[in-house]
């Protein structure tokens, strides 16, 4: 009987079995070109995992989400090693800017989002923790990003998302730069996404890429520019 690699990989992630996941991917790569592992195996599995996570499925926890992000990082790292110089999993989307809002020092969720975005081909510029509104918009301006992804764990720090909104609007980037937010507080209190002026959030770290696709397209539809990247207002 033919092996169901997708199901096996999903189960390994749910068991938090990082090395087991690597073995399954190796076995898959024995029959397929490794360069196809992201679109043909990893992405569909992560999408299913993301749906389970978002629905509160038993057995999916922050820890298994962490393992999923590590599996994704392992794959990207191997793609980079095996690719000819200048090749590998070259980003085809973005660039986008990520960071934890000012006064927030909880990096785990942001790092997971970065790993999942990179898996889906995004060029991610990760600014780290405790990033001010000015730093976010400066970075977006510098690299030409149409999306700022801001992470906050608690309500008190999430309020600083409103400052990023003000900075974006104050510099005339409304609609050009989209503001995506994530973190525990937005999952618990989704009404805060709008209240703090964000343009969207996702149900789980895994589904951040779909959100970024949507926000990127929304920005382009409002301000097409040339070549997709951000232009000055």
């Amino acid at each position: 009987m033919e092996r169901n690699y997708s199901q096996e990989l999903l189960m390994a992630i749910e068991r938090a079995d990082r090395s087991g996941a690597a073995l399954i991917i190796d076995a898959w790569a024995g029959q397929h070109a490794f360069s196809r592992v992201v679109p043909d195996l990893l992405s569909p599995v992560l999408e299913t995992f993301g749906n389970l996570w978002a629905s509160g499925h038993g057995g999916v926890s922050l820890a298994t989400g962490y393992v999923a992000s590590k599996v994704a990082e392992d794959v990207l790292s191997r793609l980079l090693q095996e690719a000819p110089a200048g090749g590998g999993n070259t980003p085809v989307k973005g660039p986008v800017v990520l960071g934890n809002v000012e006064d927030d020092f909880h990096p785990l969720g942001r790092k997971m989002v970065a790993a999942f975005l990179r898996t889906e081909g995004w060029d991610v510029r990760d600014l780290g923790v405790d990033v001010s509104a000015k730093q976010f918009v400066d970075a977006a301006e510098e690299v030409g990003s149409r999306i700022i992804g801001a992470s906050a764990m608690m309500h008190t720090t999430a309020k600083n998302v409103a400052r990023i909104r003000e900075e974006i609007d104050g510099r005339g980037y409304t609609g050009r730069i989209m503001l995506a937010v994530g973190g525990a507080v937005f999952k618990l209190r989704p009404e805060l996404v709008k209240a703090f002026g964000a343009d969207g959030t996702s149900d789980s770290a895994v589904s951040a890429s779909a959100l970024f696709d949507e926000l990127w397209q929304r920005s382009i539809s409002l301000y097409p520019g040339t070549g997709g990247a951000l232009e000055q207002p």
Partner: protein
């Protein structure tokens, strides 16, 4: 009935004049006193004044030592930052892995200045309210200490991929936890409130919870010579409540925001008190009448249960929450009367 008698009645499953009320107003005391947060979280006299102001203004039936978990991180070398309008937060970790943390010296609960600050708040409050208001010391379990010292990512990594190291670290932290728990009780705390977020399958795998964090929690609680209230931390609890049932010394559970108190009782059975289920941080956005509605809903879930304490859940009540909203909750409790049989 005074507050202590009301809480004791709940613990003994006896009727009381009305349900007791607990507010996580550790931060809010600073709003009432007007004290700068840098002083509120470093001077025991200032913090105690804040809790007294909370008591005078809203009449909660339990008071707490600072809800300031970064203080535990500081005791292991993690610097924290006083933030505008919120409790301090760890801003940097002194070491990056569980293995490195194993080499750190354990803080001395009798000499570390921040731990002495925590303890002194209990001494002051318990002296002031002796025989009148129960005072609870706020603690985190050994499984919840490493995220304050090495970060959550490194700790989850150790729990998943280096279980031996994770076990060794929790074993090493156990005497510190027990010493601090005993010290707080010796200082006059009626009991302790503690979290074990890393024992909750919302954050870790069932395997980690069952083989590492929960056995450690049970072992350290065996050594705590006083009553403990288990707090949901930031995690949903109802789905996991059975895992935490029957923990040594645990006399009560604080469930998550809006989790059904009647359903929780069904899972736990008679015995422990249940605290819930008002959204503490979310009070900021509520009009007084809406807060009263939530409070009445919680009261409606208690039925004939003597062992329900109406409580805010989640993190601190936010500092810019209108006092009228909190007072509205107190008013509903004042009018509530005893449990309907």
């Amino acid at each position: 009935m005074n507050s202590l008698e009301r809480v004791l009645a709940a613990l003994r499953n006896q009727p009381s004049d009305r349900p007791a009320l607990f507010l996580n107003a550790s931060l809010y005391g600073a709003r009432l006193t007007g004290a700068p947060l840098a002083e509120h979280y470093t001077r025991a006299d200032i913090y105690a004044e804040g809790q007294m102001a909370v008591r005078e203004t809203f009449s909660p039936d339990l008071l707490i030592s600072p809800f300031f978990v970064s203080s535990i991180g500081e005791a292991f070398g993690s610097p924290w930052r006083a933030l505008q309008g919120q409790a301090p937060n760890v801003m940097r970790f002194p070491v990056g892995s569980a293995e490195e943390m194993l080499k750190l010296p354990l803080p001395d609960v009798d000499s570390h200045p921040r731990l002495l600050y925590l303890r002194e708040t209990i001494r002051r409050l318990s002296t002031h309210y002796a025989g009148e208001v129960p005072i609870f010391g706020v603690l985190v379990s050994p499984a919840d200490i490493p995220p304050l010292v090495i970060g959550l990512e490194a700790w989850i990594d150790a729990l998943l991929f280096q279980p031996g190291v994770a076990q060794a670290l929790m074993n090493r932290l156990a005497p510190f936890f027990v010493d601090l728990a005993k010290a707080m009780l010796g200082d006059g705390a009626t009991g302790l409130v503690l979290t074990c977020n890393l024992g909750n399958a919302f954050l870790v795998t069932n395997s980690v919870a069952e083989t590492l964090t929960l056995p450690n929690l049970k072992a350290v609680l065996e050594e705590v010579p006083g009553p403990v209230i288990f707090h949901h931390g930031g995690c949903p609890l109802l789905d996991q409540l059975v895992s935490f049932k029957g923990l040594p010394q645990v006399v009560g559970y604080v469930v998550d925001i809006a989790e059904d108190l009647g359903a929780a009782r069904g899972l736990l059975g008679p015995g422990p008190i249940l605290l819930g289920n008002l959204d503490g941080p979310g009070l900021l956005h509520l009009a007084p009448e809406d807060a009263q509605g939530l409070c009445r809903r919680a009261l409606g879930q208690r039925g004939g249960d003597n062992q329900i304490i109406i409580s805010t859940c989640g993190a601190d009540i936010q500092i810019d929450t209108p006092p009228e909203t909190i007072a509205a909750i107190s008013e509903v409790l004042r009018q509530a009367g005893g449990a309907s049989s």
